[in-house]
């Protein structure tokens, strides 16, 4: 911005550095082109789609109540309907538990990740755009949330709230997982806000919120998307860990809870592998493919990372 006139510099030379990456119209085609070429992206999206379809339609195909006790405990997986993944120590249908748990996991990811992204965006945008004392206050709040011992807080809440739903879990995760997102978004906003087109938007009479939503956010949309995906995967993982240590929702089913029950009832020692393998793989596949998709998308959005 402060570069002074250099007689040897033609606009074309300046252009080469600053000109944005290709036309937006072509960009869409280009996105698809590179997306389909990226193995990371294709594989992770396929796995995710499969899991999502399973979460949506699984409970419709296998309508068994995942918590209904059955007469045939610890049955090995067979091709019989209602027994594709076998049964638990109590005769519960593991497949029904799995697909319902998957549903809950995606729900927590969607909502918890979404809430985290929302808070992170609000804090990051406002802090980065306004600067000054507002930035300092928000920065302090962010730091407080970063160092809060989340688990301890949850333990305290748990001792007061006897019945906790999936909703509560999602909100709790969202409300505690946003700080890093806020920081990253703040930094990006900070670097964008001093660009001339921001000043020009202000000269056009645009208010602060409009400048953020219509000028700054579209410029980092891919970044925001990546942030959301990471928060999404993070929320699933946190939910599974909370469920696994018994701090999860009461009633209902989740992948973490399946693991918790399997361990509690000694599935490992009894050799009931079909009880803990599906939820384990489910968590790893969902979270892992989200993270791999993040890396893949990063390469697609960011031409410098592409290996050509």
């Amino acid at each position: 911005m402060t570069a002074e006139f250099d007689p040897t510099m033609s606009p074309a030379a300046g252009d080469a550095e600053k000109a944005p990456t290709p036309k937006a119209k072509r960009a869409r085609g280009e996105f698809l082109f590179f997306a389909l070429r990226s193995k990371k992206f294709v594989v992770s999206v396929s796995i995710l789609l499969f899991l999502i379809l399973l979460a949506i339609f699984g409970p419709m195909i296998d309508t068994n109540d995942p918590l209904a006790l059955g007469d045939l405990p610890m049955r090995q997986p067979t091709l019989d309907p209602g027994n594709w993944f076998g049964t638990t120590y109590f005769g519960e249908d593991v497949f029904a538990q799995f697909v319902n748990g998957l549903r809950a996991s995606f729900f927590v990811g969607l909502l918890g990740g979404g809430l985290g992204a929302l808070i992170g965006m609000m804090v990051g945008f406002v802090a980065g755009y306004r600067g000054g004392w507002i930035d300092e206050v928000l920065n302090m709040v962010t730091n407080v949330f970063l160092v809060i011992p989340t688990l301890a807080v949850l333990l305290v809440i748990t001792s007061y709230l006897q019945a906790r739903g999936v909703m509560f879990e999602a909100i709790f995760i969202g409300a505690t997982s946003w700080p890093w997102a806020a920081r990253a978004i703040r930094a990006q906003t900070f670097s964008l806000r001093s660009r001339d087109f921001i000043d020009l938007a202000k000269l056009s009479g645009r208010s602060g919120p409009k400048v953020i939503v219509f000028e700054i956010a579209p410029n980092m949309s891919s970044y925001l998307f990546l942030t959301y995906i990471l928060l999404f995967g993070g929320a699933i993982l946190i939910a599974a860990s909370l469920d696994f240590i018994g701090l999860g929702p009461t009633g209902g089913m989740s992948l973490g809870l399946m693991m918790y029950n399997a361990v509690t009832w000694a599935a490992l020692q009894l050799g009931v592998w079909w009880w803990f393998i599906p939820p384990g793989i489910g968590i790893i596949a969902a979270v892992g493919s989200l993270y791999v998709m993040n890396v893949g998308l990063d390469e697609i959005f960011n031409p410098k990372l592409r290996d050509i």
Partner: protein, 321 residues
Amino acid sequence: MLSLNRISKTYKTGTFGGKDLVAVRDVSFDINPGEVISLIGESGSGKTTVGKMVLKLIDITKGSITLDGVDVAHKQGAELKTYYRHVQGVFQDPFSSYNPIFKADRVFSLIRSEFFADMPRAEWDAKVDGVLRSVTLEPNQVLNKYPHQLSGGQLQRLLVARALLLDLKILIADEIISMLDASTRIDVLNLLADLKSRGLGILFITHDLSLGNYISEKTVILRRGSVVEMGATDKVFGNPTHPYTRMLISSVPQLHKKWAQIEQELPAPIAGRGGCLFHEAYPLAGRTPDRPIDEPTLARVEDDHYVGCFELDSEKASQVA
């Protein structure tokens, strides 16, 4: 008329804003309709800061700016919009003036949505067409294109056209041709001359003395945030009084001479003389200054010609007295 009344800008820098950086100090001048004022200074002298204060993009630390006698400091919301109806800016880097992910003509849409939301489509299109032609752009060559598909000159003229959509009185042009190549520069300069003849007041910010001389009625020379000399362009250039101005003007033909070199060749200021960083003494030495020493003022050389504080040589001093 837009008046700057002794405006100053102090930036807080360093960790926790511990250090003060005085970017602009006590600058006053008027921008009249139908007049180009060039604000000349080297890089970092505070030119952009002055322009941004006028455009209300940054706050003024001290002093005031008035438009037709009304202080603009507290304008907000609708009042600020009215101000922007009359006062607009174009900046140095055409490529960073456009949001790279949108088409270039979005700068027009923004004006429409904020100022002409009720105007029927056809009427608006005709208006855009009109301003484009007045900046000698062919509408179908520039509309519906992305910024990188247009040249720097086209982009800068689009920005002028954007300002002309409004009821423009004052245009702040901050080094708007310094990134253009020679052939387009002249087009944009001619455009500014045309706007001037239509009654606009233009603040032409530049680091190029000859450009300033070429285009303006009035000249303000800025150095380290302070005005060293200002007045009618022919007087400042014809009868430069401050050593700094003289050195600048005498080195214009020497294209290789850099600003930094000029700084070095200047006689060193006498230490311990207070506020004005580079004065050697108050003008009219011996008289009691009518302002505190940390608020340097300008001395009158002749009609419409003022100079910053320094020790005038005897010849000039007699002129001033």
